[in-house]
């Protein structure tokens, strides 16, 4: 919250667009502004009405360097925009640095994302130190079509203006914390010696030589990848990682998404009855890759690049009672299966589970 808890005294607010940037079409700017306003309108009783040619509570403008508000902009990058807390005159206004590369996608700086953040200030929010929050100070891209207002921001704005009038209260994504004992994963893979844990739009990155775990948005590294990756495995020999979501997969070559992806999973030999892959790992020693789907699994031969005959088989027949597999990876000759907050260590030579840990055992909690 902002010191002094400034807030608008009424819920029906007005906004005015003072000028436009030449870097985007007028329509795209209008759409970005409307979408940014709806982010907050959807979770509060607030409404925003556009006015022209007269003063408004929130005046949105693009400004250059020193623009007479005692807070000059600094040219490309650095400070992207600022906004003022609720109040008369400049209060509530949003200033965007004209020298930034404003866009409606992942290039440069996405106008919608920055505006949604600044409008949080216009309504009385200050910065959050939750790295996944919209009100976190630094810029990070999320595809506008995938954007969901995080729970941290919903909690903040509803503490000021109350809940929305809708019957069902909206909720938002919660930022994973490495040492949360309830943490579960969507997918896990090794990547050139590191271990990458996927969760929603985040990835937790663990390097064996570093004690702390790095939390990043998936889009920070791979803007073309969607959130909610469901399975992933590394083919060490080919220095590739395959990532799966629904009936598609992407290939990461080194650190870049290979061109021409995503492709349908059926290219790998899955029958059309398979709609998604729950988890996967590839055993470099045998050149065999294992795909887990519900209570069954397929085995794929990386050399022949086709599914082995006699599959699918029941997971329980060959891996024991590990239940449904949320995520799996192989490291130093052992296979680690994740089912909820439980992790099973499986020895493929002995063909049995040899250990059971918490899902967060890799994070030095």
């Amino acid at each position: 919250f902002t010191t002094g808890n400034p807030k608008w005294k009424r819920n029906q607010l007005t906004y005015r667009i003072l000028n436009y940037t030449p870097k985007m079409t007028k329509d795209d700017v209008d759409q970005a502004i409307q979408k940014a306003l709806s982010v907050w309108a959807n979770v509060t009783p607030l409404t925003f009405q556009k006015v022209e040619d007269k003063d408004a509570d929130i005046v949105i403008s693009f400004a250059y360097r020193d623009h007479q508000d005692n807070s000059p902009f600094d040219g490309p990058n650095g400070q992207l925009a600022h906004a003022f807390q609720p109040g008369e005159g400049i209060g509530g206004d949003v200033h965007l640095d004209e020298e930034e590369e404003w866009t409606k996608d992942g290039r440069g700086y996405n106008l919608f994302i920055v505006l949604a953040h600044e409008l949080g200030h216009s309504l009385g929010l200050s910065h959050s130190n939750d790295p996944g929050a919209l009100m976190y100070p630094t810029y990070s891209y999320t595809a506008p079509s995938e954007f969901l207002l995080p729970q941290d921001d919903i909690d903040g704005i509803q503490a000021i203006y109350g809940q929305s009038n809708t019957a069902v209260q909206p909720t938002g994504p919660i930022t994973p914390r490495a040492c949360d004992p309830n943490l579960t994963f969507d997918a896990i893979t090794t990547l050139r010696g590191e271990i990458i844990f996927f969760k929603g739009r985040y990835m937790l990155r663990k390097h064996p030589a570093r004690t702390e775990t790095e939390l990043n948005f998936i889009s920070l590294f791979w803007p073309k990848l969607p959130s909610g990756i469901q399975a992933a495995y590394e083919n060490v020999e080919r220095d590739e990682v395959l990532l799966f979501k629904e009936d598609k997969y992407w290939v990461l070559r080194g650190y870049d998404i290979a061109p021409g992806y995503p492709k349908p999973i059926y290219r790998l030999g899955f029958p059309k009855t398979v709609r998604r892959v729950n988890a996967a790992y590839s055993d470099e020693a045998t050149g065999k890759t294992y795909f887990f789907v519900a209570d069954r699994y397929w085995r794929y031969d990386e050399k022949k690049r086709s599914m082995d005959h006699g599959y699918p088989r029941k997971i329980v027949s060959d891996f024991g009672k590990i239940g449904r597999v949320d995520a799996v990876f192989i490291k130093d000759g052992y296979v680690y299966f994740f089912h909820g907050t439980t992790q099973f260590q499986f020895d493929p030579r002995a063909k049995q589970v040899v250990g059971q840990m918490k899902s967060i055992s890799w994070f030095n909690c």
Partner: protein, 84 residues
């Protein structure tokens, strides 16, 4: 004597740190030179506040992770104090 590259780097780093803390952590701009030592403690205190906010290791020194965070594009509104 020409400034050695290391000294030049150090000066630029100090400038980056001071300007970031002035913009976002309410570091006062007008330090008197004779209060240099006090100024340094003041700067280290603000630097610790920034490191705490971002969940970085609180060293009070401009270590690589801290400098990397300071170089990220961001909102111009301070992380502490008022912006009116």
């Amino acid at each position: 004597f020409p400034v050695t590259p290391e000294a030049e780097d150090e000066r630029k780093t100090l400038e980056l740190v001071e300007s970031y803390l002035q913009n976002f952590y309410d570091l006062q701009r007008d330090h008197q030179p004779h209060l240099r030592s006090k100024g340094e403690n003041h700067l280290a205190a603000k630097l610790k506040k920034m490191q705490e906010f971002f969940g970085l290791e609180v060293t009070g020194k401009p270590d690589p992770d801290t400098l990397e965070m300071m170089k990220k594009p961001r909102c111009g509104v301070p992380d502490v104090g008022n912006y009116v």
